[in-house]
Symmetry: C2
Subunit: 109 residues, 2 copies
DNA sequence: AAGTTGGTTATCCATGTGGCTAAGTATTGC
DNA sequence: GCAATACTTAGCCACATGGATAACCAACTT
């Protein structure tokens, strides 16, 4: 996809995928274990995993017949930073507004 | 949609929509001004705005023929919190692992 | 009153997404 | 070797998404 944020936010915009991420923060797990709590077919679930992997949120290795998946935390931090930055601009605007309000009588017609 | 996070992350998974949010952190603006920098047709752009509004990220009022849009910052904070929580669990796991490592000789067979 | 401006509504289209089943491959256990 | 396990690939389907045009309405401007 375009931006890294595109694929990240796209990946998080689904409850199944968020649940997988939540689970993986507690440590790696094989595909079958990740799939177990979700009431959808395995191939469908694999497509979700694929999307997480494409977004760089997750990595996996196969040993024998079992594929173990682990989280890649960096992208989470990138998105968190983006959101924090927006919030700071927003809050900064509020600050500037209140400062303006302080100086309202002299400055504004 | 399902969760509030669904519609939030869904809304952010598009560069046009993120650009609108970035612009709106600096203050409200009419639709035409928001649309100007984007090289897409107005009706297409309006669909993006609609999605932002559906996700509760933005609100708008119409006065005369001009509709003014302003940001609703709360959902940003909700998502930021969710991400921060994931990060804390992830980091907590690392902490526990290192603590475990400290106690490795006595505790582990 | 006529024209311009700022949105809005209605359709349409190609592609993406999330779901399924069926069938296949490769390990591992007996 | 055979069966069970753990994915994997292929194909199908309904609906959502992001894009477009055309036509419309309402409110200013002149």
């Amino acid at each position: 996809m375009d931006n890294q944020l595109d694929s990240f936010f796209g990946a998080m915009a689904d409850p199944t995928r968020r649940a997988v991420i939540e689970r993986l923060t507690q440590g790696p797990a094989p595909v079958s274990e990740l799939h177990a709590p979700h009431d959808i077919a395995l191939p469908t679930f694999l497509k979700h995993l694929r999307k997480l992997e494409d977004a760089g949120l997750v990595r996996s290795e196969k040993r024998g017949r079992v594929r173990t998946v682990h989280i890649e935390a960096a992208p989470l931090a990138v998105a968190e930073d983006w959101l924090a930055r927006q919030r700071r601009v927003w809050e900064g605007r509020l600050d500037r507004l209140s400062h303006l309000a302080d100086r309202l009588p002299p400055d504004v017609s």
